[in-house]
């Protein structure tokens, strides 16, 4: 049901763009108005979400500590697993963002073969599949994003041409097949199937988990169709994109509707981005378990939302009642 709903949503989006351009000739809407709107929504929504998060207090020092905290000199501490200063935190964040280090430790519950005997026991076993799938997906997505800069820049920096050359190193067919296209499709398909075939994962999956997957699949699929199968006038596409980025929008002569479908799906992804789980792109920087220093024993973390409690210390109490206490013969700290 959830899967079907997400699938139908994405199909409707694609069909809307296709009919809109192919039959109703709304190139202006799908090529200029919506992309601009999508970009503004993306930028504004993203920034607003970040500021919203920045306003949330962190009540406790909840950094995850998977190693010895820095304490006495002669006890060896783990700078990475339990960072004691910003240097360690930066290193840890770097590994998290670029290599998904915490996902590397992912485990799955099941029957595990025990090391001593041949028997199987219920327990936890290492499960690297999500890490690998996620890593492949994110890197190829980033690679493809950067490669797309050839439509946005002129002159094209040689670094981008080099990336493209590397991506097409096997020189399969013409236009040359990009390896990242295959990696992206495979990994997204894997990430989707994972949600379908693992019962526990299926149970916790929401529509909001399937929509981004289908949207990205549809974007990849339309892009691949456009590049290898039906083809579009790439020069026309570049003309449109360059006109958009120089704020003098102009539609090129005839660019196939498949391009507008692709463009509209990408715009949809951008519009959806700030309101969806995709915001983990900005959110990862706000993970207290990753970005805090493991210094809970050295530095007191004051909960920012603590209101100031009016305290009445014993000293003040004694000052207030000194005479009465003296009269009753009670012992006093200060005479």
């Amino acid at each position: 049901m959830k899967i079907l709903f997400a699938l139908i949503t994405v199909l409707i989006l694609s069909l809307a763009a296709f009919t809109g351009v192919e039959y109703l000739h709304m190139e202006y809407v799908f090529g200029i108005v919506i992309p601009y709107a999508a970009f503004i929504i993306f930028i504004a929504g993203f920034t607003a979400k970040i500021f919203y998060w920045a306003k949330s207090p962190v009540p406790f020092n909840i950094t995850t500590t998977a190693g010895q905290q820095k304490s006495l000199k002669w006890i060896k501490s783990d700078h990475f697993e339990n960072p004691s200063g910003s240097f360690g935190v930066i290193g840890r964040m770097f590994m998290e963002i670029f290599f998904f280090r915490s996902l590397f430790r992912n485990t799955k519950a099941g029957l595990v073969k025990s090391s001593k005997s041949e028997s199987f026991k219920p327990g936890y076993a290492s499960d690297k599949s999500l890490w690998l799938g996620g890593l492949m997906f994110h890197w190829s997505f980033l690679y493809i994003l950067i490669r797309h800069l050839r439509f946005f820049l002129y002159p094209i920096p040689s670094a981008i041409v080099t990336l493209e050359k590397f991506d097409s190193m096997f020189q399969i067919g013409l236009p040359i097949f990009y390896l990242t296209d295959a990696i992206l499709l495979l990994s997204v398909t894997f990430l989707f199937l994972r949600r379908v075939f693992i019962p526990q994962v299926k149970y916790i999956s929401l529509i909001a988990d399937f929509i981004p997957l289908f949207l990205i699949l549809a974007i990849a699929f339309s892009g691949i169709m456009m590049r290898y199968v039906s083809r579009v006038d790439v020069i026309g596409v570049k003309e449109l994109v360059m006109s958009l980025t120089s704020f003098s929008p102009a539609l090129p002569e005839k660019v196939s509707s498949v391009f507008y479908v692709h463009f509209f799906l990408v715009s949809s992804l951008f519009m959806y981005f700030p309101f969806s789980k995709l915001m983990h792109m900005g959110g990862v920087f706000f993970s207290p378990t990753r970005n805090m220093t493991g210094d809970s024993r050295r530095i007191r973390h004051v909960n920012p939302w603590n209101y100031s409690v009016k305290v009445h210390s014993y000293e003040e109490y004694e000052d207030e009642f000194r005479e009465a206490m003296k009269g009753a013969g009670l012992p006093l700290d200060k005479e």
């Binding site: 993203f46 920045a54 949330s56 820049l153 236009p175 083809r231 790439v234 020069i235 980025t245 120089s246």
Partner: protein, 154 residues
């Protein structure tokens, strides 16, 4: 009033995000200092003149097809010639062509730099074909039989 935590870090982060996301817009102003992108002007005049002189109706296929799909056509030609020894291409108008990169395409489009490369630079592609298919040599020999070379002469 809202309180914001880690102000400096957050503002730096947001600034970097905005700078990266809007890069395609501002690079034209601050880096390339050229706000107008000029469409590559693939010079088709020599090809037009050559086609008219020698009785061709135009390119191999119509212009929209060529713009979008010429690389697919070339791939098709390459495979058919090299693997299946089929050397004649008959287009949708019934005209015959010799399936050859330098022998056909570059006979009409003898100005490779002005023609092919102008588009390719703009799109950021560098076809590796010309590592082997040398253009200069093909163009200088048999100048007067260029038209025949295009028609399949086997």
């Amino acid at each position: 009033m809202f309180k914001m935590y880690s102000k400096i870090k957050v503002f730096t982060g947001v600034f970097i995000f905005l700078a990266l996301a809007t890069f395609p817009f501002w690079n034209k102003v601050f880096i390339v200092s050229k706000t107008n992108y000029e469409m590559p002007d693939a010079n088709i005049k020599p090809a037009l003149a050559f086609a008219r002189e020698n009785g061709f109706s135009g390119c191999i296929e119509d212009r929209a097809f060529m713009r979008a799909k010429h690389m697919k056509l070339l791939n098709h030609w390459r495979n058919e010639v090299v693997r299946e020894n089929k050397k004649t291409y008959i287009n949708s108008k019934g005209e015959h062509f010799n399936k050859s990169l330098t022998g056909t395409c570059l006979k009409c489009h003898s100005n490779k730099e002005e023609f092919c490369d102008s588009c390719h630079t703009s799109a950021g592609v560098k076809p590796y074909c010309f590592d082997c298919h040398i253009t200069g040599i093909q163009n200088t020999n048999q100048l007067n039989s260029k038209a025949e070379a295009i028609h399949e002469i086997k």
